[in-house]
Amino acid sequence: MKKRLVSLLLVGVMTAGMLVGCGGSGDGEESGNGKEAEEGSGEVSISFYTTETGKDDYFQDLITDFESKNEGITVEYIAAGDDQLQAWMALYSSNEGPTVSLMDPINIYENQERMLNLTDQPLLDNVKKDSLSTLTFDGKVYGIPMSAAGIGILYNKAVCDKAVGGDFDPSTIKSRADLKDLLEKIEAAGAAGSCITGVNWSIGAHYLCQVYGAAIGDVEERVAYVNSIISGDAKEIDNDVFNGYMDTLELLAEHNLNKADPLVGDVNVDAAAFAEGKCGTWFMGDWAWTYLAELVEEGAEFGLLPIPYSDNEDDTVNQCIPTSYAKGYCIDISQNTEEQQQAGLKFIEYMSSDEYALEQTAIVTGQALPFENFTFEDKLSPLGQSTANYMSKGLAYDFYGTPNLCPSDIWYECGAYMCEYLSGACDRETLASKIDGYWSTQEAR
């Protein structure tokens, strides 16, 4: 009796096991032969991991187009959720390291031992040299940028026109005094002067990292400054650039739409307020068009203003916007075969030079693309055109300048300090010393 029951049980477990097996078997086999079996047959299958989220349709459309133009290559699409590093780590831990990854430059830098050196690749000829600074380590290029993101104070032209009583010209804002004047005029005209979205990534990364920007000097001087903070030789609080940007932040905060509750920040809610003209300006960047596109009325004009850090009209940094090549394509050599790497190169080449790819990228990101054969300026979003405009006038500087200027967690760690400061819960000296403290745990650049 007992034996029968035991065997019954075994059958039960096995049936259940088979049930599981059936469901998974098809997929399991596919992944098994995905990487090796196709070698030598001219067919190659690669994978593409993207941390640029919310663009699944766009990427999949381009992959289909790429596959049709490159017989024999299939691209498996892998998209990150809101956990890009963890997902990347999991892929590498599975020995499924993506052939091509679209990552933040700092992540490529930190894992350059896994990446293909692109320095001598012909596809680099099509990439504008000045866009490669954050993707070049020790003179070797490890990534191809996706698009240029301009950071600045967005303005709603209709509101500003009303405030200045005529046609608002953004180039008239050359110093903090000019900005102050504008914000006051906007407020006199009945809207909030500005808006700050009180979230760590905006004020912690985008706003704070300007402190290590062109106002400090050229790239070498910027690195030297960061190193002096790390070593403890310099203190933020003694630095005019730091204080200048914090003064401007205070100015913006004084006119902030969310002044009553500065950290309530929600990028969608703020976008709606900005589009409706409840505030005249908004500290954000040209990517904000993705939030704005559906809200703005036909014909309404928007653009970017630089963030001045001093009252000096002759300091061109006050008229420059920082641009960041926030994502780059890189190719893995640690878990991909030679053939896959070659196919990956073709994929990157396609993304950075194919007419259709460039057009779609311009439409979807709305941002300027750093490629020689790029001709779709008219497809950019109004904000992206504004960025492109600054760039063409030479009034833009590379936000980070070098791949590892700011650590990958600065938005989270220092973002918290910045939020605390913005909410009025701590004074500037405390903020400065906390930021000093953060840097002191970092290694010299």
Partner: protein, 276 residues
């Protein structure tokens, strides 16, 4: 008797009130599935202007809904079946046989329930996907889901079995039942309410699991619902309207299952009262 009735209906209305308070976020979710994301952000608490089902179609298409539903169902059903069987048996064994080894394993089970998943998730991927090559395998995801839920399920079964008088087992033994037979013929039927409870928990946990599944399932065709819904995330924001529609679609099967399970629990009570 009238007083009793009044008390009962008062009870009913108080409970109803609490229920409504409980369900507010759920109602907000439902009404917003008919709006655009913009409408949701500007007026999250208002009723929709019109009954627009567009979000549901968008969700079905972009989430690859039917494939994801199938994957989720396969993993969940397999995990629940195996988990129920092995955990109920172990729970019974641990409750009736107080051997040292059983006590030790039981405590180890409990301890492993408070181990942060993060400690062993990357090692899990390294072992199962990296070394054994099981990435994108629904079978492995189901297997791990079984393992992750074993301590919890054994814990519940064990506690419940302890509430069943041991005299029942003894009576069965005197009648000539072996240990195994006693379990399958006498105890298992009595476990019905707790089986339903554990099944609901395990099923729900596996159905909604994002973290573990996402480590193993990266291909479009192996994604589960909880992973697929992330397609609506954008940098620093999300397309909330279709996301909510997708979420609602994903939880409907669980809700139906739970409601059906409720019926069984009530029946189980009736059946269980025999044992008294």
């Amino acid at each position: 008797m009238n007083k009793m009735k009044a008390k009962k209906s008062l009870m009913f209305f108080v409970t109803l009130l609490v229920l409504i308070l409980f369900m507010v976020p759920f109602f907000i979710l439902v009404i917003n599935t008919f709006k655009t994301t913009q409408e949701f952000i500007q007026t999250p608490f208002a009723l929709p202007k019109s009954l627009n089902f567009e979000n549901f179609f968008v969700a079905v298409r972009r989430m690859n809904f039917w494939t994801a539903l199938k994957n989720t169902a396969v993993v969940t059903v397999a995990a629940v079946l195996v988990n129920t069987l092995v955990s109920a048996m172990t729970g019974y064994l641990f409750a009736r046989k107080r051997w040292k080894i059983n006590k030790f394993i039981f405590m180890a089970f409990l301890a492993s329930m408070v181990a942060p998943f993060q400690v062993y998730m990357i090692p899990q991927v390294k072992i199962y996907a990296g070394q054994m090559g099981f990435s994108n395998s629904l079978a492995v995801v189901a297997y791990i889901a079984i393992g992750l839920n074993i301590p919890f399920a054994v814990f519940l079964y064990n506690g419940f079995v302890e509430g069943i008088p041991e005299e029942l087992d003894e009576a069965a033994r005197i009648d000539g039942c072996s240990f195994t037979r006693t379990f399958f013929l006498i105890i298992l039927p009595l476990l019905k309410p707790i089986i339903i409870t554990v099944t609901v928990f395990v099923a729900m946990g596996v159905w909604n699991d994002y973290l573990m599944s996402s480590l193993f399932l990266t291909k479009q065709e192996t994604k589960t619902l909880a992973i697929a819904i992330k397609t609506f995330l954008t940098n620093h924001s999300a397309e909330y309207a279709p996301m909510m529609a997708g979420l609602l679609l994903s939880i409907v099967p669980v809700l139906i299952f739970y409601l059906a399970g409720q019926k069984y629990i009530i029946e189980g009570v009736v059946a269980g009262s025999v044992k008294g």
